[in-house]
Amino acid sequence: MKKLLKYLSGYKIESVLAPLFKFLEACFELIVPFVVSAIIDNGVPDRDPGYVGWMCALLVALGAVGLISAVFAQYFAAKAAAGFAEHLRHDLFNKLQSLSYAEIDSLGTSRMITRMTSDVNQVQNGVNMVLRLFMRSPVIVFGAMICAFLIDALAGGIFAAAIVILCVIIFGILLVTIPLYRKVQGNLDGITTYTREALTGARVIRAFCNEDKEIESFNAKNAALKRSQTFAGRVSALMNPLTYAVINVAIILLLYSGAIEVNGGNLTSGEVIALYNYMSQILVELIKLANLIITVTKSFACAGRLGEVLAIEPSLIRGPFVRNEGMPFIKFDNVSMKYSAEAGKALSDVSFTAERGDTIGVIGGTGSGKTTLVNLIPHFYDASEGAVYIDGVNVNGYPDEDIRGKCGIVPQRAVLFSGTIAQNLRWGKPDATEDELAEALEAAQASDVIKSKRRGLEERVEQGGVNFSGGQRQRLTIARALVRKPQILILDDSASALDYATDAKLRQSLKNLDYKPTVFIVSQRTSSIRHADKIIVLDHGAVAGIGTHEQLLEECPLYREIHYSQYEKKEAR
């Protein structure tokens, strides 16, 4: 929380004024019973209608001044909280964008999104509530007690005791019910899962004739939910009656001690009524206070999580920019890579070189390290042993923009962003001309995608690119990577949705690019990489063979196995 306080610093005045005005409002409210008691003790016995009139006018005035203070307070509180959240969100978004792949992996997408949205909202709400209520509820509760002490010491004692007992009841019940309601939420999540599965798995459930079984287990879960709800409800049902009883018993005691004092002439009946009024005021505020404390604890927890995110420092190692002359364009030098200290090696001892204009194929089973290998080239991750050199410089010596500017990357999942096609294509090069876009589209075999759309390059892309087919998306993401004319082009299994013919045409046109990029093709199909200058066969992170298609067919049993599982022997040409 402390870390987040600096986001309030731009709103110092508001953060001070809001509670201050709230404090004033509470004070005005506390004066009311005094005025009423004055009416009863002075106005009524003296039969002075003018005095009564003035006092009632004072009551209205107190209300009006209270309202004005409250309005100011709410405004300042809302302003401070909104500004706080704005700055916090800005910094968080910047922080997330600065993270390296390793931190992105460990945080996880859904967690990052929750931090950015609901956690920030929760904290904003907390700030707003604290500014608004922290000076009101306690001031009224303890102010009422102090006023009671001023009127009569014994009455003050009764107030103190009542407040303590009420606190115990309110907080006791809240503390007991919080875990109960968490359990309710857990049960509800279970119900949600069941419902979703009934829909996503409708075919399978029906195919296995499991409908009745599903209904049965759903009903059991449903009944458990009801039980937990009823139980939690039963505990919170105690709140109203118990607090009601305490307040009224306290009033009885007040009146009793009041009666003795009045009888002895130490207290007036107007003052007894004032005490009675104070007692009725504290309950509402105590309950508000309890809820406030819960909101604040929740937002503290969120604030803690946000603090953790803000404290993350990108772990990518930065090295010196030293050029080793005479090195090939790309060089992997005994590279090993682990995703975390405990994990096994995702890559072990990989060494190879590539020249400008080379096509490198990377093949292997699921989890063999293909994607890991290509992710090391743009320095998305650090190699845990060995080094990757581009142009003779260790990749960790380049600033991020430089090394990534050299690469055109087509990720496995073809992601397009909402906007127009042209906007998407210009991601890699914001100032690309229409001709440059057309050229990239042509090379990516995506020109016909544009032609098929009514508005051409200006066609809208919905979020996630849902209005394009998988194959269209893939070709557009390839075009996007080509727009900046990269020196290194990385296709991470990104032609999987293309049919064989288009795939072949694509490879041909990449070969003919005039700027001669080094192309990495990751694939599961040998047909996609068989014409590469060099094929790297990976098996569980280790190199099982490097060479051309023909060499590997001769020498690498794994490659042979992969190839013949896709083509029977006689068809291998």
């Binding site: 009524v44 964008q97 608004r132 949600t192 075919r203 399978v204 709800q229 009675y276």
Partner: protein
């Protein structure tokens, strides 16, 4: 409150839903009346007690008597209030349970057509969020709406009884309270909508950019993003300031109205005493304190009731959505005399079958297929040609529009769905696992399978090895839709599931698409073993996997354009030949 006829019907139906709880509801009403009465009586008794306090002449006997009465009323009120809460909880949660049970059973019987055409999220949210909202509305309606109105009316009546002047003064001020509450709530509603709209915009942006952060970084697009983000963020801050500010106004304004009412009661009360105005009951300081306390109770419910009304309207809308779902027609039940298919031989016949998902778009027309028992039928063709539709018809997920499908000579509409489906083993491209243990998932088709049988099936499907590598082996919990398994592993489990139950007919829709080719080769032998003697329908992209089929159906636009064995079709030099050769193109 305007009510459309539709809303009226919904309300009627809600009442019908509540009918079986009439006793509890009556009890709840009774308890509410007692609670409110207790709340109104206590200030009177306190007032009476205060009246007994006179310097040197306090009547302690009488005060004790009043205390005893107050004590009794406190106990009674507390009990009533507690029972009220418990009863209302019980009603609300029981109704929730009823509705959810009804919905879930209904989902199991809904037509697949409905399920295919409606987003799952929408149906889920009807069963979860809408039912919750409905229950909240019910609960609040019972607890706050009813007691609130009782309190207002009761307090007003008591004021009239004791001092009609005060009552009139209070009554005149009442519309002010309503007016303010209304004004603020409409204003707030608009601002909140605007706020949540901008928030939605921002969430979508965050979703997109944070969700694809790796791509963003790969293209060094961070700068453009923060610019756009700040623009939305600025708008959000402004609208959230407005919404928060206005939504925080009702409390202080109500307090102000409360202060007005309070001052009016004090003024009118004090003046009645001073001028000794004639009233049916004696009006004194004690009564004044009673009415002052009423003044405090009086304004609060107004504020709550406006909230509750929105809540109730919301609940009715939710109930409407729930009933809409429940009114969706279920699948046609099995025929009265439908017989059990038993263990089929596996002869499948499509006779003049026509089918389309929507009336205006014909898909399958006049389709004839005959598969002999034990034959292997491969179905190939481009996307959208109707391959998946055939599966839908075979499993009777959908009924044919025209013509008929026969299994062993029985029209499949004449046998029970369960007995038909038990004869098929289905592995779909779109793997689905339920949350539960690996063992439960494998045993879906054969709940009474022994451990040995399960392990044997897993060994055959080559899933045993990876299962044993999981933390708890066969007892490893898998999360919803197998989130913690890879696509290939999920597919292996689906195959294991079939290996265990081994029904006489198989449907394999791209069954091995996510398994890497090496593993696929390894399980191929088990597959071949499994297919032996069973009628198989195989859908595949990779044509090498369908070459050995007894019959290849080449589909295009819902029609079978070529059929025959592989060699025949290649020799034919038609569509299949083209398709087959394209995969070897360079």
């Amino acid at each position: 409150m305007m009510r459309s006829p539709n809303q009226k019907q919904t309300v009627k139906r809600i009442f019908r839903q509540l009918k079986s709880y009439w006793f509890l509801i009556a009890l709840s009403v009774l308890m509410a009346v007692i609670t409110v009465a207790g709340n109104l009586i206590a200030p009177i008794l306190f007032g009476d007690a205060i009246n007994c306090m006179v310097r040197n002449d306090t009547d302690f006997e009488k005060i004790y008597f009043y205390f005893a009465l107050i004590g009794a009323s406190i106990i009674l009120t507390c009990l009533a209030q507690w029972l009220l809460n418990i009863i209302n909880n019980k009603i609300a949660y029981s109704v929730t349970e009823d509705i959810r049970r009804e919905i879930f059973g209904h989902i199991q019987r809904l037509t697949l057509k409905y399920l295919d055409e409606h987003p799952y999220g929408d149906i889920v949210s009807r069963n979860i969020a809408d039912v919750d909202q409905f229950a909240d509305g019910l609960l609040m309606g019972f607890t706050q709406f009813f007691t609130g109105i009782l309190t207002i009316v009761g307090a007003l009546v008591m004021m009239f009884v004791y001092n009609w002047i005060i009552a009139i003064a209070v009554f005149v001020l009442t519309p002010l309270s309503l007016f303010i509450a209304r004004f603020i709530s409409t204003k707030t509603y608009r601002l909140f909508r605007k706020n949540s709209q901008i928030r939605g915009e921002q969430t979508a942006f965050i979703d997109e950019m944070v969700g694809n952060l790796k791509v963003v970084k790969a293209f060094s697009h961070e700068g453009e993003n923060i610019e756009k983000f700040d623009e939305i963020n600025g708008r959000l801050a402004k609208s959230s300031l407005d919404a928060t500010f206005y939504s925080s106004l009702p409390n202080p304004t109500t307090r102000f109205v409360n202060a007005l009412v309070y001052a009016a009661v004090a003024l009118a009360g004090a003046l009645t005493i001073i001028f000794n105005l004639p009233l049916p009951f004696v009006f004194d300081v004690g009564r004044l304190s009673t009415l002052l306390s009423y003044a405090n109770q009086y304004t609060k419910p107004f504020n709550e009731i406006t909230g509750v009304i929105t809540e109730l309207q919301n609940a009715i809308a939710c109930a409407g959505r729930i009933y809409e779902l429940l009114d969706e027609p279920e699948q046609i039940p099995d025929n009265e005399g439908a017989k059990e298919l038993g263990c089929a031989e596996g002869e499948v016949l499509f006779k003049n079958v026509s089918f389309s998902y929507t009336e205006d778009k014909k898909l399958i027309e006049n389709l004839n297929i005959s598969a002999l028992a034990g034959q292997r039928i491969a179905i190939v063709g481009p996307t959208g040609c109707g391959k998946t539709t055939l599966i839908n018809l075979l499993m009777r997920f959908y009924d044919v529009d025209d013509g008929a499908i026969f299994v062993d000579g029985n029209d499949i509409r004449e046998v029970t769905r369960h007995s038909l489906r038990k004869n098929y083993g289905m592995v779909l491209q779109d793997t689905w696992l339920k949350s539960g243990t690996i063992r439960q998932n494998i045993a879906m088709g054969k709940p009474d399978a022994t451990d040995e049988e399960i392990i044997e099936a897993a060994q055959n499907a080559h899933s045993h090895k990876f299962i044993m590598q999981l933390e708890n082996g066969y007892d490893t919990m898998i999360s919803e839709d197998g989130g913690n398994l890879s696509q290939g592993q999920k597919q292996l489990l689906c195959i294991t599931r079939i290996m265990l139950s081994l029904p006489p007919m198989l449907i394999l829709d791209e069954a091995t698409s996510s398994i890497d080719t090496r593993t696929e080769m390894q399980i191929q032998s088990a597959f071949t073993e499994m297919m032996k003697g069973r009628t198989c329908f195989i859908v595949a992209h990779r044509l090498s996997t369908v070459k050995n089929a007894d019959l290849i159906l080449v589909m295009k636009d819902g029609k079978i354009i070529e059929q025959g064995k592989h060699d025949e079709l290649i020799a034919l030099g038609g569509f299949y030949n083209k398709l087959y050769n394209s995969q070897f193109a360079i």
